[in-house]
Every structure is written in C-alpha cells, then in structure tokens.
Symmetry: none
Subunit: 235 residues, 2 copies
DNA sequence: AGGAATTTGTGCGTATGTATC
DNA sequence: AGATACATACGCACAAATTCC
C-alpha cells in the first residue's frame, strides 16, 4: 500500500490516508489517535516518518498534538475550512455569479525559461475558459510542476483545481500574489470568449505558494473587463 | 553555547542564531548557506537537528532550500511592518518605488448621486497625480464627507492621506474593497500623466470603511498599466 | 553528452528528555 | 511513583536534483 518509488513520499501518503480516514468518520473530532509507536507499526513505517505526516496535519489544523497526552482530531474547519473558491477574485459587474471552468487544453511541456528557477524541468500547462453563471468571462493559463505526478491526464483534474492539488499532489495553496494590469488576449482564445474590443481586456499574473512557501503554480488570467472585475477585500 | 537543558531546544537556538546572523548582514539575500553537513559540524549538532532549524526558517519565508543545490537566503519579506502605505497597491513593473502624491485639484462639491446614500449632502473631491520614485503612474480621485470638517483647504492635506484622516478627521481606514478593471483616462488628466495608448489604462474603484464599518471614502484610480501594476498579496 | 561530485530530501532506528495521566 | 506518550537529538543509508568538469 505504501510504496516509496511509485509516486508521493510515504509521509505524504500517510497524511492523505489519515485525512481520508478522518473525513470518512473513522476518527471523529475529539478522538485520540493511537500512539505514534503503535500507529507506525500498523502502517509499517518508522516513527520518524509517521511523525512527519502528523506534523503536516497539525500544521494544517486537522490535528492537535499534546506531549504526554496524545494526538487528537480537531473539529473540521476551525477557521481552516477554506473554500476552494477563496482565491477566485473575479465577479460579474452586476454582482455575484457561480464560478465554473471548461478545459481547453492540458499538456505536459518543458518548463518555460521564466519559471525555471522555481519549477523543475517539466511542468503541466492547463488552459481553461472560466465562466460565471454560464457567462464566459476569462481565459486562464496555469503552470504547475510535473515532478510529483509525471503522468496526469486532463480527466484526472477536477474543476476545483486547488482541491485537486491537496488531494492528489499533497500540497495546498496557502498564499498568492496577484499582479493586475492590462493585456492582449492570447492567440489560443476560443470563440466563446470575445471581449468587445481588445482594450477592455485585463490581465492577472498570479504566483501561488504552499504552506512551506514553495511556489505551487504560476497562472495568467485574461478577463473581459466589460463583464467582470477583479475584486479585492482588504482588511 | 548550544545547551539543551538550560532554555530553548537546540534547534530553536539555531534558528534564532541564524536569524540574527542574517539580520546582521553576515548572510545577504541571495547568499547560499554552507551545506548542511558542514554547518552542522561547525555548530556541533547532528544534521537532523540542523535540518529542523532550517525548516523553521523556510516556513517563515526567510530561507529557500533546493534539493541538489543548496539553502538560500531570501530577501526580507515586506509583509511585516504596517505603514501608511499599507493600502497602496501600485508597484512599478520593474519593482518597488517610493509613493508620493501631487495635488491637482481640491474642492468642496455637492455629493454626486452615486454616493448620496453613504455621504452627506456635501463632500470633498480630491484629485491627485500619483508618482512612484518620481515617475507619474496614476491619477486618483477621492471623495470623502465634508460634514465633520466643513472648511478644509488643499494646504491642510498632507501627502499621506490616511494619516490625515486619523489625525485631523478622527477616523482611520480599517478595511477597503477594490474593484479592478479597465477604463478611459478622465478629462481632467494632466500632461505628466500620459499612457501611451488608452488601451493600457487600468482602473480601480475603492470603497474604504472605518473601524465602525462606516464608509470613509470612495476613490477611483486610473493607472498606466505599461509602467505599473496593481499588486495583491493574499494569505 | 555524460558522468562524478555535491547537496538536499526521505526514511529507518535508537536513546533520552519531559509532560501528562 | 510509575506508566504512557510526545519532543528532541543523534547517526546512518540511500534517493533525487543540481552542479560542475
């Protein structure tokens, strides 16, 4: 079950396993997990490896660990349960709208020079059309590392990409930096997406980072400024 | 020097030590630290212990670690200190820039219809040219209520408007909401501000609120997307 | 182009300290 | 006081990525 060579590191496989087991209700909020030594033995890993997995989940706010006492399951979403759409910042000018996405293209490519300092040699490039309440409002181009999962297909991706990152790639987006300016619609644009004039197309560059401050993805979004806006709530 | 029993765990002592050394300039941003094995030896600890210390600093965003390459010092994060410019989101494309402002016009006017639900009958309208390191990059139009101070003149305003609000008007900005899109440069534009073409002008609408959730000001900013961008750091 | 050397990442096992029960 | 459980620390072996010759 737990194999090192196939895909994810063992300690991440364990985080995922425990995440699923907690989600499935095998451990409820408030429960104490078995002691490290015991859990490590049943999982067939060294204690140190298990500890690394548990630390991950503690950092994520799923577990609380108390020396001398034990490891406890925390109630879901104590300020943690971030919506998958938390980082989606586009809004129809008339307000609201339910975000969806349609894949235009998905390929594994050689990492472009601009990203080579932060991504490994190969990365995935995902191109999507974004919609708000069925209105096409933006084109999106996303680059993320191919290293951990070298053989992804378009079908493996769900609509909620950040959820996919967490479940399948073992990391989650903790922060991002957006740069909003103006741009020209890319040449791979589709018929559905047609800003009235080139002059009303805005452009967002995003760098997303994981909780470890590593770069998780680069993305560029072109949006039709006639129909929607980039919204930012500052506190 | 590094003692376990006295106070902090050794790995934390090391994090602190390295933090001080980086702050002191012994290691500059971009520098590579000595390899783990070497550093551990000079510090007289096991590699695992050192690694834990380095992981701490990586998590804090002070270091970046790259497998096969080394451990690097990152530039000091600017996310820490809050300033009057905390809500100023424009940045030169080439990076950074010191924000200043030049008043173009300041008048007391009848409140425009669009703001009448939130501002009283009269308000001030301030028009400014914004600069980053002496480069004109944006026009700004700000509306705020005239009720509390009915007789302001342009000379009463400082460059740092938010500071002025707090000192003279008795409130401070606690939150804001920005909507970024694309727009046309207003007719009161000045010679200094000349985006190459209309197509590279972006537009930010802002609603700022006080700590009591009352609307403090409305503003519109037109910025030259060729020279600068709207930057948003999300956590 | 390719291979060796370097450097961090992962994983194992163990011993000891310290907080809790 | 004793048992239990997590925290810290040490050391080693190998994998994976990068760098350099």
């Amino acid at each position: 079950m737990l194999s090192a060579s196939v895909s994810l590191p063992v300690y991440l496989q364990i985080s995922e396993l425990l995440t699923r087991e907690i989600a499935a209700g095998l451990y409820a909020a408030g429960d104490r997990l078995p002691p490290e030594a015991e859990l490590a033995k049943t999982l067939g890993v060294a204690v140190g490896t298990l500890r690394k997995a548990l630390s991950e989940l503690e950092l994520r706010g799923m577990l609380a660990r108390r020396q001398g006492s034990g490891t406890y399951v925390l109630p879901a979403g104590m300020g943690q349960s971030k919506s998958v759409y938390e980082f989606f910042k586009l809004e129809l000018i008339r307000g609201g709208g339910l975000p969806t996405a349609r894949v235009i293209d998905f390929q594994k490519i050689a990492t472009p020079a601009a990203f080579q300092t932060d991504l490994s040699k190969h990365c995935y490039r995902l191109r999507r059309l974004r919609l708000l309440s069925d209105t096409p409002i933006a084109l999106e181009e996303i680059y993320f590392d191919a290293q951990s999962h070298p053989h992804l297909k378009a079908a493996d991706l769900g609509e909620a990409l950040y959820w996919f990152y967490q479940e399948r790639l073992g990391f989650w987006i903790a922060s991002a930096e957006d740069r909003v300016g103006v741009g020209v619609v890319p040449d791979w644009s589709v018929q559905d997406f047609a800003p009235a004039v080139a002059s009303v197309c805005a452009r967002v560059e995003r760098v997303s980072r994981t909780s470890k401050n590593k770069i998780a993805e680069y993305s560029i979004t072109w949006f039709d400024a006639k129909r929607c806006r980039y919204v930012n709530r500052l506190k």
